[in-house]
């Protein structure tokens, strides 16, 4: 086991940083149902961390715990070396954790550029009055934010639809715009909830490439949820496997692939 504060280099030469987020014994209940049962794992700086599992395993609930949409009944969330008190989702976002949603939550009435600019909200600081009069600091800040947004739009190859209202875009592009908005926040951790759900093979390949490029280019730490095993194994540095709210495996893709419990969960062995 590697020490939480140390970096290490993987077999294929990727440098993985120290632990940035740690989930300790998380239990989440909805009424009598335990969606997450006593799960612990960590996310390291600069890695691509996947949470996988069959439908209903509690993956999305886990992501919602990390992003503050759910408050777990038990357990602790540690972020950047200190325990995080229970927070609202917007406070989590302000701490530098950005996310996308399984069924896309974009601002449908706004253009692509406006959507991406909302991702910069946590970086906008100038006061209301200064902004209204568009002077000095406010103007500089607006220009800077605009530059970041444009850079990300270029990076994700959506320049051509910058001014298009999001409502008119096809599904695959919407997913990409949502990724762009999350990236615009320059997050410490980027959470992706089923980034490939509902996509065809070609779109999946594009999305995989973007995820790898983002991680590579910006060094963004990424935690993602998928139920498509194949995609995840190619993308991620480490994988947490969940089934029925429990953690049944944790390790590199090859370790997880050979884990009997994981094989059972995916191939469907009868649960007693």
């Amino acid at each position: 086991m590697k020490d939480t504060a140390d970096s290490y280099v993987t077999a294929d030469g990727r440098t993985i940083g120290p632990v940035v987020m740690e989930m300790k014994n998380i239990t989440l209940r909805f009424g009598g149902v335990e969606a997450i049962k006593d799960i612990s794992f960590d996310i390291r700086q600069g890695e691509i961390r996947a949470i996988i599992g069959p439908n209903g395993a509690g993956k999305s609930s886990m992501l919602n715990v990390i992003s503050g949409f759910y408050i777990p009944q038990e357990g602790e969330v540690w972020y950047k070396g200190s325990r995080r008190p229970p927070m609202k989702p917007f406070q989590v976002a302000q701490q530098g954790i950005a996310r996308t949603f399984q069924n896309i939550a974009l601002f449908e009435g706004m253009s692509v550029l406006d959507n991406v600019m909302t991702g910069r909200l946590t970086h906008m600081k100038t006061g209301l009055l200064a902004q209204s009069f568009w002077k000095g600091a406010a103007e500089r800040e607006e220009v800077e934010n605009r530059e970041v947004a444009e850079k990300i739009i270029d990076f994700l190859e959506i320049q051509a639809i910058r001014k298009t209202p999001v409502a008119r875009l096809p599904y695959g592009l919407k997913k990409r715009v949502e990724l762009a908005r999350a990236l615009a926040a320059e997050p410490s951790i980027l959470l992706l909830d089923e980034p490939m759900a509902g996509m065809n093979v070609e779109e999946k390949e594009d999305m995989s490439r973007f995820i790898l490029d983002v991680n590579d280019e910006f060094g963004t730490t990424i935690a993602l949820i998928e139920h498509d095993m194949g995609v995840v194994m190619d993308l991620s540095d480490r994988v947490v496997v969940m089934d029925y709210g429990k953690k049944i495996g944790d390790g590199t893709p090859s370790e997880v692939r050979n884990n009997q419990a994981v094989i059972d969960a995916y191939l469907g062995v009868a649960h007693d």
Binding site: S67, F69, K88, P89, F90, Q91, A93, Q94, A98, R99, F101, A105, L106, F107, E108, G109, M110, D114, M117, T118, G119, L121, T122, M124, T126, L128, Q131, S132, W134, E142, R181, A182, A185
Partner: protein, 335 residues
């Protein structure tokens, strides 16, 4: 110039001016509805409350004087000073922001995610509560509202003499337009431009648009819904204050001021509940429509007083043929 034509133009212009005042009230509805999905029945009472507070502060009235006197057996009514109009307006804005905060904190924070009809009922409760508080705070008698920059330099009353004189000399017909209406139009224009700039170019404005579009997505980019809701209620309170000043200066501050909310309903049917430009255009159409209808058809053929129902008839037609209004988001049901 043809007398009949000139008269029609004059009626048209007066209709536009009346429409601006309707639009001012409708604007408050749109702001809150867009950001939170709440149809705020209390918007009219907020205008009344704002106007009463403004007059009360200006005259140095002791708030809750009646209550204080009843409990402590005192006889206080006035502080014995009067406050300059601008300072009084600023103080009233502060009161309206406090009201916005209280409404969010004590009512709507607890009703997040409820059915629209429940939110609507809550605003009806709020309307009557606020009306009672306003009466208790400032007394229920009819008050005159005068906003003055300095002694004798007040919001103008009566006809614009200059306009009448000039048009009489140029066209042979002197147009009659109320000074206050002209001021109200200018103020409304500034207010709308200000709101648009705010919504388009400021951090809070962007966050407000984000919340109006999608709550979940707004949370995920770090926007506090609670803060934005207090903000829109404050803005609606400010708009209510402006509407209250204009209507109050026109016809005095009294209970009937709160009924202007009912006039805003047809405006919203026309303009759509979610569109700021819609509120303006809707207001103008209703204003012009009812004045022209009364002048051209109502008075000569229908025995007059059509202004009471024309707006609602027009709204009814819109409901049948274009339920989303002129500028509202199109209603598409997918099956």
């Amino acid at each position: 110039m043809n007398e009949q034509l000139a008269f029609t133009i004059e009626v048209f212009a007066n209709g536009l001016m009346a429409g601006v005042l309707y639009a001012l009230v409708a604007l408050g509805f749109v702001l809150i509805y867009k950001a939170s999905g709440i149809f705020n029945y209390a918007q009219g009472v907020m205008a009344l409350f704002a106007a009463m507070t403004l007059v009360g502060i200006q005259n140095g009235q002791v708030p809750f004087a009646h209550l204080i006197n009843a409990i402590f057996g005192t006889e206080v009514h006035h502080f014995g000073w009067s406050v300059h109009s601008f300072a009084a307006i600023l103080l009233t804005v502060v009161v309206m922001i406090a009201l916005a905060w209280a409404v969010q904190q004590f009512v709507f924070k607890h009703l997040v995610g409820q059915e629209p009809i429940i939110l609507f009922m809550a605003t009806i409760g709020l309307a009557y509560f606020l009306e009672g508080v306003a009466d208790l705070m400032w007394g229920s008698e009819l008050k005159a509202l005068n906003v003055c920059a300095s002694e004798g330099n007040c919001l103008p009353q009566g006809m614009n003499v200059w306009l009448e004189g000039t048009t009489y000399e140029a066209l042979g017909y002197g147009f009659f337009i109320d000074n206050l209406d002209i001021v109200a139009s200018i103020v409304a224009a500034i207010l709308v431009i200000g709101l648009v700039i705010f919504a388009q170019y400021t951090k809070q404005g962007r966050a407000m648009r984000a919340v109006a579009d999608d709550h979940q997505a707004a949370l995920s980019v770090g926007v506090s819904l609670n803060f934005i809701w207090v903000l829109v209620w404050s803005l609606a309170g400010f708009v209510a204050l402006v509407a209250g000043i204009m209507w109050g200066a026109k016809s005095g501050v009294q209970f009937s001021l709160s009924l202007i909310a009912l006039k805003a309903l047809p405006v919203l049917m026309l303009g759509g509940f979610t569109s700021i430009p819609g509120a303006i255009v809707g207001g103008l159409i209703i204003g012009v429509g009812e004045k022209l209808f009364e002048f051209l058809i109502g008075a000569p053929y229908l025995g007059g007083a059509t202004e009471n129902w024309f707006a609602y008839m027009l709204a009814l037609l819109f409901l049948v043929f274009r339920p989303q209004g002129l500028f509202g988001e199109k209603i598409i049901e997918r099956v």
